[in-house]
Symmetry: C5
Amino acid sequence: MRRKKQKHKSKLGFPPGSLVFTGEQKMEQVDISVFNYSETFIQEFRPKSIDEVIQLIKNSSGVIWVNIDGLHEEKSIESLCTFLDIHKLTMEDIVNVSQRPKLEEYPKYVHSVIKDITYNVDLAYFEYEQLSFLLKENILITFQERSGDVFDGLRKRIREGIGFVRKRGADYLMYALLDMVVDNYFVILENFGEKLEDLETELLENPDKNSLTKLHNIRRETLGLRRTVYPLREMVAAFEKLDEPLFSDSNKVFTRDLYDHTIKVIETVEIYRDMTSSLLDLYINSVSNKMNEVMKVLTIMTSIFIPLSFIAGVYGMNFKNMPELDHKYGYYIVLGVMAVVFVGIILYLKRRKWL
Amino acid sequence: MRRKKQKHKSKLGFPPGSLVFTGEQKMEQVDISVFNYSETFIQEFRPKSIDEVIQLIKNSSGVIWVNIDGLHEEKSIESLCTFLDIHKLTMEDIVNVSQRPKLEEYPKYVHSVIKDITYNVDLAYFEYEQLSFLLKENILITFQERSGDVFDGLRKRIREGIGFVRKRGADYLMYALLDMVVDNYFVILENFGEKLEDLETELLENPDKNSLTKLHNIRRETLGLRRTVYPLREMVAAFEKLDEPLFSDSNKVFTRDLYDHTIKVIETVEIYRDMTSSLLDLYINSVSNKMNEVMKVLTIMTSIFIPLSFIAGVYGMNFKNMPELDHKYGYYIVLGVMAVVFVGIILYLKRRKWL
Amino acid sequence: MRRKKQKHKSKLGFPPGSLVFTGEQKMEQVDISVFNYSETFIQEFRPKSIDEVIQLIKNSSGVIWVNIDGLHEEKSIESLCTFLDIHKLTMEDIVNVSQRPKLEEYPKYVHSVIKDITYNVDLAYFEYEQLSFLLKENILITFQERSGDVFDGLRKRIREGIGFVRKRGADYLMYALLDMVVDNYFVILENFGEKLEDLETELLENPDKNSLTKLHNIRRETLGLRRTVYPLREMVAAFEKLDEPLFSDSNKVFTRDLYDHTIKVIETVEIYRDMTSSLLDLYINSVSNKMNEVMKVLTIMTSIFIPLSFIAGVYGMNFKNMPELDHKYGYYIVLGVMAVVFVGIILYLKRRKWL
Amino acid sequence: MRRKKQKHKSKLGFPPGSLVFTGEQKMEQVDISVFNYSETFIQEFRPKSIDEVIQLIKNSSGVIWVNIDGLHEEKSIESLCTFLDIHKLTMEDIVNVSQRPKLEEYPKYVHSVIKDITYNVDLAYFEYEQLSFLLKENILITFQERSGDVFDGLRKRIREGIGFVRKRGADYLMYALLDMVVDNYFVILENFGEKLEDLETELLENPDKNSLTKLHNIRRETLGLRRTVYPLREMVAAFEKLDEPLFSDSNKVFTRDLYDHTIKVIETVEIYRDMTSSLLDLYINSVSNKMNEVMKVLTIMTSIFIPLSFIAGVYGMNFKNMPELDHKYGYYIVLGVMAVVFVGIILYLKRRKWL
Amino acid sequence: MRRKKQKHKSKLGFPPGSLVFTGEQKMEQVDISVFNYSETFIQEFRPKSIDEVIQLIKNSSGVIWVNIDGLHEEKSIESLCTFLDIHKLTMEDIVNVSQRPKLEEYPKYVHSVIKDITYNVDLAYFEYEQLSFLLKENILITFQERSGDVFDGLRKRIREGIGFVRKRGADYLMYALLDMVVDNYFVILENFGEKLEDLETELLENPDKNSLTKLHNIRRETLGLRRTVYPLREMVAAFEKLDEPLFSDSNKVFTRDLYDHTIKVIETVEIYRDMTSSLLDLYINSVSNKMNEVMKVLTIMTSIFIPLSFIAGVYGMNFKNMPELDHKYGYYIVLGVMAVVFVGIILYLKRRKWL
């Protein structure tokens, strides 16, 4: 939250279309990798600068995939985008990491934003990283906030020519990458779901004060998750509606599959939300039940001993003339009375099912 | 939950369209049965292998229904699907048992997924089994996770030529099967509804700690049920929109009936959801009422005996000069005062309707 | 609930389009009445069998209205429907009394289902009876589960030629009957509303344990009511969309009126639902307030007497050397101190507004 | 509520289109006023009977506005409507005062119903009066349940020719009247809003038992208000869609303004609803906080004096052999021990922040 | 609230289209500034009167932006609007500061209303100022309630020719201003979000009575915020749909960006709303937990000392014949019994995890 504040404050004076990186710099140096491939060949590059990338794009045939990790060098990103004839607002969105997931079609290219989620299991905390896609004919540029992603499986498939990816264009590549991000959501959701289940067990068996804080954090994370996941439906729907020449019709069937997965992700988040609210009720009731137990013990102790103490009190009075006191068996009779009262109260409490 | 995790983890590296069975294997051997029939003839087969099935399809006239129980032999399923010219993504969906209910139209065939629900009455737990349908001209292939289904009635009708099924095509057969699955939902829902009613009675009459756990489980199961049942509306609506030649217009009137049933299932689930939330309120209030009872007893006991004990305490003091103590009837007067206080407090409590 | 179970279980094996009566038989013998009328004549019949009815239909001119009370003779209903060329699925729906309210247009006839509601005021319980309408040119067939309905006013109007009914066709007759059913809903809703108001008064003035059960039952009945009433909107909308020749345009203005009434019924049910939830909050708060009262009394009694008893306890100690005990006015001084403490506590409680 | 019951019961037997006044008669005699005006002239009449009105309409040029206060003379209303060629169902709606706000377009006229709201500030109670509008070419008839309305400002503007009203037709007049009704809603809503604010202050500062009843009443009134206000959106939208010749295009811009106001009214009601639910939470928590205070005092008193009393009790025992009792400073030592215990408990309570 | 009342009361008698300023006057004198610019020149003026403004507009070439701070001089606003041929209702809306955000297209101009929000951090209170835009060809008039706005950055960009603003028309200028208002919302929302986080920390760590009031205020402010922010979606959507010649197509891409930001603002408000409701649950549970702690202490103290006091009470009785009293070690034995009881109760409480 505090971080975001600086973001927007620092942007407030700038005109629309200004490139200002709004995140915190997560890596020292921008890291670029390039894949150039077709069905028949595959080349990998590790260019040191954007100028090299531009050169590679100029000379490439087949599909070219440029992946850029690190968004803090606005200048380089601007020069690459200018070379590709990208709109100023798109450039702004690429470096402004507080975008909602979306897909925007421009006359000559497509720009899409999605969040990669990492789940910090120990702290029960989600981290979000913004991924941007620029798709233009045979060129796909991906922008990430930092290195490390879920695309290694795809890289292997490109290198080894497994599956459809080498046989199809940059549009299929973009689909495949989106699909991996969404597939990764399932893993994240399952880890989160386990956390939820652990909490459920804890609440059912032994709720304590920390349970409340845990539950609150889980609700909070679920809110953040919903915010990231809900716009996906719209985004993938826009993806489905892309037309030739940017997106070839033969790939349409895949976007439908992606849409299905997206719906499932959203449904799961919704289920988790319902479950947290169910867990909250469970917690409230557990606490209430424990309170009831405490009250019962208090009431039982009081109900038993207060009348007995009263009887003892009566015969502790110092009146001169108290015939019972002089009675030979007075003490034993009173003890007997006390026992009767005691048993009576116990029976009464038993009948009310408090014992 | 834990199971699902393995599913998706194991799929994460695979390219789209890979056949990976994601469920747990529920039977040792795949079990295949084939019906081939028209209005005039009926044949049943028990092929041992997919090759036999393919042979049967090639030689068949009339409608052919292939039912495959067990999804763990991905190779056979792949070879059957390849023979029928089914898209890779469809194959993937057939063996991936965490699909949402859906119906997808491909240029030459229809693929539909639905869940068969079993209700474990004792544990108040739903089990879900994925059913896939492939409809192509006169061929219907059904895939199930394990043997045992709700279709025996239909099989009998096919064998004996009862009803419309022998007179119509594979499209009607698919409708009839879907209809049986949805009809079975009603049975499931009624069993579940009875469980709900039992719980309601329990909550109204004698709520205890277990009631809360039961209620929580019922809410949880209702969430799972909704997730399975809600997509049906969309699925059956897609079914209604199918066109010639895959779905003959003369069968349209039946899909409308199916849609009606689906809506009723969804409404019932929604009612159950409202009822569980109503039951939760009932429980909370019962607990609160019991607490009130406990508190009342405590307050009554305390209110009666604390003042009396005080009086006794006063005359238990050891002052030399306490004239009351020497008074001949002091003791009896004090007992009298105590009686008056006692009656006064009782009357006060009666007026407040606590007694 | 238990009843429904048998219904569906008994139907599970039957093919679609089987006539199986699913209700409990509410009358011994089917009761049939026939009105045949036009602007100029009116005839009433009490046919003993369906064959007679078919004969009457064949010979009729003008509008013919056949009302059948009792659905358990599936054979007769089937033969009548076959004579009228009604689809098997419609026949099935007529005798299956767990239909949602709906209106279905078939090429040559219209089939509509609606529920007649009776309110058992004493038990605060709704009873639902299924009414089916078959409209075909000048023929209207109505099916009811048992005798007794809200149509007597209309019968009188037909006999005496009051209002539009004799001047218009079977379509207007169907509208008039639906209108009477919906009008009757208002009466039902008002009775129910009074029950709600009584409960409200009870909750505001003197809530007790039964209030909770009453409230729970009212919520439950409201759920059932919503389920019956919500589909009406769609049904009446479908009614509005009926075309010539089944429904003459000059009657359109009436269906709009019916739609208006339907919306009002639905809104009223919705209001009742909000009111029950408001009543629940009222109840919870009443209980909570009562608890507060109880606690206050407990605290007041304890706060006053516990310190006083302690003082008495101190001077009840048996130490040899306790100079106060020998003081001449010791007793009176201690009584004075007790009085001061008593007044102090009272003042403190007054300041906190607990007294 | 009880009133409504009679309404519908009394209507149940009547055919559609019967004129039955369903309200309670709020004035002894029907009161009619007529304005006849154009840009150049203005005439006012006070006709004694409907016949006079009909005569006035026949002879009028320019715009004629007939306002009828009192709906219990169904005959006169029927004869006026018959003269204007109004549909039976419209007549029925005019005298049936439980209509939802609506606007219905008939081939030759428009009929609209809206509620005028009066707020009884002392009882925090809304009263609703039904207004009907009949717009036909240059004729506007308004029906009210009783005299007294919010239209005096408009009457003055007509008389004195202020604003657009004299320059435009009966359609503009109808808009101006509707606008005044909706504008009056704002006044009503502000008064109600102040009541809400007062209650909020009360709940924050000094909630008592009456607060709950007040809050409940406010929720109830908000429910009634919503029911009256929500259909306005649809009604005004229908008003916007009216076409020439009934509604001249040059007045369209005004209906958009009216629509805006309507949305604002609905939003305000919605805000009030959210506020009442927020107030309920506030109340519940206030009560809960007070309870906590009470419990704390109880616990503090008990925790302090129960151990002290126990000590006193020990030395009140009458054993022969209790060396402490004979010790010279025994009493003072025990008093000292009591003081130490007292201070210890106080410190403990302070550390727990209960003191 | 009280303020609004006067507003509407004072307007009630006026005909539609009357200019009545409904806010409180926030500045003594109307303050006008004018920018006249094109790509090649830039002029700034500080006209003293509306007549000067009209003169400037008449003589201007390029884009002219007139900003008017202060709405209480209705006459001047009317004369400016009349000069620009603005509809009466628009004039009314400009000076009536209780408008919902909206955008209305008139045949020759566009009128838009939006709220500028200021957040009073100390009082946790939002202040709303109404901004109106009139866009007509190359003229943009902005009306504000008082001086001070978020447009200084844009003014600088105009003066120095930074960004697109000098190169494009009045339509872009209007977009840029709206964009700044919406961008400012983010700053506001972040400040508010921090307040929420502070409150969350407070509730988790040390909730007190003030927390409730704070929480209530935050809910209230969130309600107000929603009301201001929700209509933006519709407004910006209307902005996107504007056509040539009022809004040039080349600026369309910017409105899409604005729409994106608007959605994000709305989502954030929605998240805050969910968070406040989550905080309320947290508070309720914290209070409940504290109560539980208090009850436990009470119960522990009572359970320990009440039985011990009873024992002491028994041996404080004054019976002649109580052999224990004469026993040499009677006292020590009883002290021993008390110790055993004490330890027993402690162990019991430990086992129940209360200690």
